[in-house]
């Protein structure tokens, strides 16, 4: 009897009983592992499924305990879009997330580069301060910051108090970029210097092209941070519905529609969907970023 040659020895010709047990055991393990996998997959996906199904229910059915819509009310999504302010909240969210991300990257790259490649006194201290700032919740400094933006600059009711600080480096982005730049060998930087490149030119022409995955990860994280931010808009934008972002406005759907979960869930889907779409297009950069935050410096 001929067997496929490149199979591992224990999987070919189950002649001895010991080999047969080993094979059966491997099969049982495969079944156990994949059943667990399916169970876990259900736990992780069913919430999305139920939310989506409810978003398509009629008003009366949304008050029932049914799990599956009788009629598929795609018009619910139209109603969400027609909510006064909804398009403004979209625009505000894109402004905060888009402009904020550009500012964060532009201001954080040089700082991260200096921390990764320059030798100077106080470098460790600077990095420690960056990490400390990264670990601080915004609530710690919010009272003076609010008084500064609202009383001195009269900018409450806008998103500028959230966007402008991003032009001065974001601690988490600096840290993540620095971790990434550390993985670029110094030889490239030195070679550019030998070729007569100044520091800025070295950064722009040599380091940046190599740091593209790191920059992509930072941009994604910052975009999502702004998209997801609730506390910032709550402090600075709550008084002016024209300055709300989607994440902040979402709960108002529950207020406006009382117990109608269908429209609230349709709005919830619309807040989740862009994030998940972006993830699918940039999966690699994202997972890389998550692991970078954990690895050693």
């Amino acid at each position: 009897m001929t067997q496929v040659l490149d199979r591992p020895a224990e999987l070919t010709a189950p002649s001895s009983p010991a080999e047969r047990t080993a094979r059966r055991r491997a099969l049982l393990e495969w079944i156990a592992v994949h059943s667990l996998g399916v169970a876990a997959a259900l736990f992780f996906t069913l919430p999305f499924v139920f939310v989506f199904l409810t978003s398509l229910m009629s008003d009366s059915q949304a008050l029932s305990r049914d799990l599956i819509p009788h009629t598929w009310e795609w018009g619910n999504y139209r109603k969400v879009f027609d909510t006064p302010g909804f398009l403004t909240w979209w625009r505000n969210t894109l402004l905060y997330a888009g402009l904020g991300t550009v500012l964060t990257v532009v201001s954080s790259v040089p700082v991260a580069y200096a921390l990764a490649k320059f030798r100077f006194r106080g470098r460790s201290l600077t990095l420690m301060l960056v990490i400390s700032m990264m670990m601080l919740p915004p609530q710690v400094v919010v009272i003076p910051m609010y008084l500064f933006w609202a009383r001195q600059l009269d900018l409450s009711g806008t998103l500028w108090p959230l966007i402008v600080p991003l032009a001065f480096g974001d601690a988490f982005s600096i840290f993540l970029l620095r971790q990434f730049l550390m993985t670029i060998p110094d030889e490239y930087v030195d070679a550019a210097k030998v070729d007569g490149c100044g520091d800025l030119r070295t950064l722009l022409k040599v380091v940046l092209p190599m740091a593209r995955p790191g920059i992509a990860a930072v941009a994604l994280f910052q975009f999502f941070a702004a998209w997801n931010d609730y506390f910032g808009p709550q402090i600075y934008a709550s008084e002016n519905t024209d300055a709300w972002t989607l994440s902040y406005a979402l709960e108002s759907f529950k207020g406006a529609h009382h117990t109608d979960w269908n429209l609230t869930m349709a709005a919830t889907v619309l807040v989740m969907a862009p994030v998940i779409l972006v993830f699918f297009f940039a999966q690699k950069a994202f997972v890389e970023g998550v692991t970078l935050t954990g690895v050693k410096g």
Binding site: L63, A114, P144, F231, E251, G294
Partner: protein, 314 residues
């Protein structure tokens, strides 16, 4: 002489260069961190309601927060609950899912994506979703539980169940830990497993004596960052409480935080409650400093450990 001179000039130039590259962050540090930090300490000793000028009040804000403010100790107790129970469960579950994904051989990419996706759900959206899924009236979870004959809890409407409901939601979003543990598990040298197997070690013994020691720095990292995140937990408990209680904003700021019965209060919510609902900026700054001290204590732990944790030194 001339050589020393040019050396000095070179040093100065390189210092200026460093300063130039660091300047965005240095400005940000001064304006958005150092100044407000000093200011927070200052206000914590002031009586300030935002209308009349601040007036020195000594330690009155401090005694108020610790002795008379009714929300402080409940919030700290809730935080402790989250730190002990939620963080432990999340690390164990993250490790379990990480192990599972390294064992899955068929369709690994699809499983990994499905396991990871909930982590990406925006916090407010995830909370709205769980407020719906777990609502005792029409929620699918309780419908299914009742059909199965299991007594259905009140979740976000029951003070005993609101934190377990939050925990369930945080377990759902365990994708970050899964990725971190997965990377750590794949880094464990294969030879060690083979050697252990030759010595006749069982699956549990291999896990206990090969896997665990190898990934313990990552477990430590997950625990410490988990503790910091639990202390700073804000959006999810706040939104869950507001949606379950039915008190939703317009632009309004008046709602009783921590529904039901203060069971979802956390420290950051107190800063909001004191500062922006009660206009007691001084006492809000006291809570902010407590939050600062706790965060820094655990961040120091994170930076001091060598190995898999963040290393600030070179």
């Amino acid at each position: 002489m001339a050589a020393a001179h040019t050396l000095k000039a070179k040093h100065r130039r390189s210092a200026l260069r460093t300063l130039a590259f660091l300047s965005p962050w240095l400005t940000g540090f001064a304006v958005f961190f150092a100044y407000p930090m000093i200011s927070t300490v200052y206000f914590s000793f002031m009586h300030y309601d935002g209308f009349r000028p601040p007036a020195w009040s000594g330690t009155r804000n401090w005694t108020y927060v610790f002795a008379h403010y009714p929300f402080f100790w409940p919030a700290l107790r809730n935080t402790l609950w989250l730190v002990v129970i939620m963080v432990t469960l999340r690390v164990l579950f993250g490790l379990g899912i990480g192990l599972l994904i390294t064992k899955i051989k068929t369709g690994t990419g699809i499983f990994r994506t499905l396991f990871y996706l909930p982590y990406l759900a925006p916090p407010v959206a995830a909370t709205m979703a769980f407020a719906f899924l777990l609502n005792p009236g029409t929620g699918p979870v309780n419908s299914i539980l009742e059909r199965a004959g299991v007594p259905a809890p009140g979740w976000f409407d029951d003070p005993d169940w609101s934190k377990p409901a939050l925990t369930l939601m945080f377990l759902w979003g365990v994708g970050d830990l899964m990725v971190v543990f997965m990377a750590a598990l794949l880094d464990v040298p294969k030879e060690q497993y083979e050697a252990a197997e030759l010595d006749g070690a069982s699956a549990w013994q291999r896990f206990r004596y090969v896997t665990l020691p190898a990934i313990s720095p990552i477990i430590m990292f997950a625990v410490v960052t988990g503790v910091i995140a639990a202390m700073q937990c804000y959006t999810q408990p706040l939104v869950a409480g507001k949606v379950a209680s039915g008190v939703i904003q317009g632009a309004g700021t008046m709602f009783e935080p921590g529904y039901p019965e203060h069971s979802t209060l956390t420290l950051p919510q107190l800063v909001y409650n004191l500062g922006f609902q009660r206009f007691d900026y001084g006492s809000a700054c006291v809570v902010a400093l407590v939050l600062f001290a706790l965060s820094m204590a655990f961040t120091a732990l994170l930076m001091r450990r060598r190995g898999g944790l963040i290393q600030a030194g070179d």
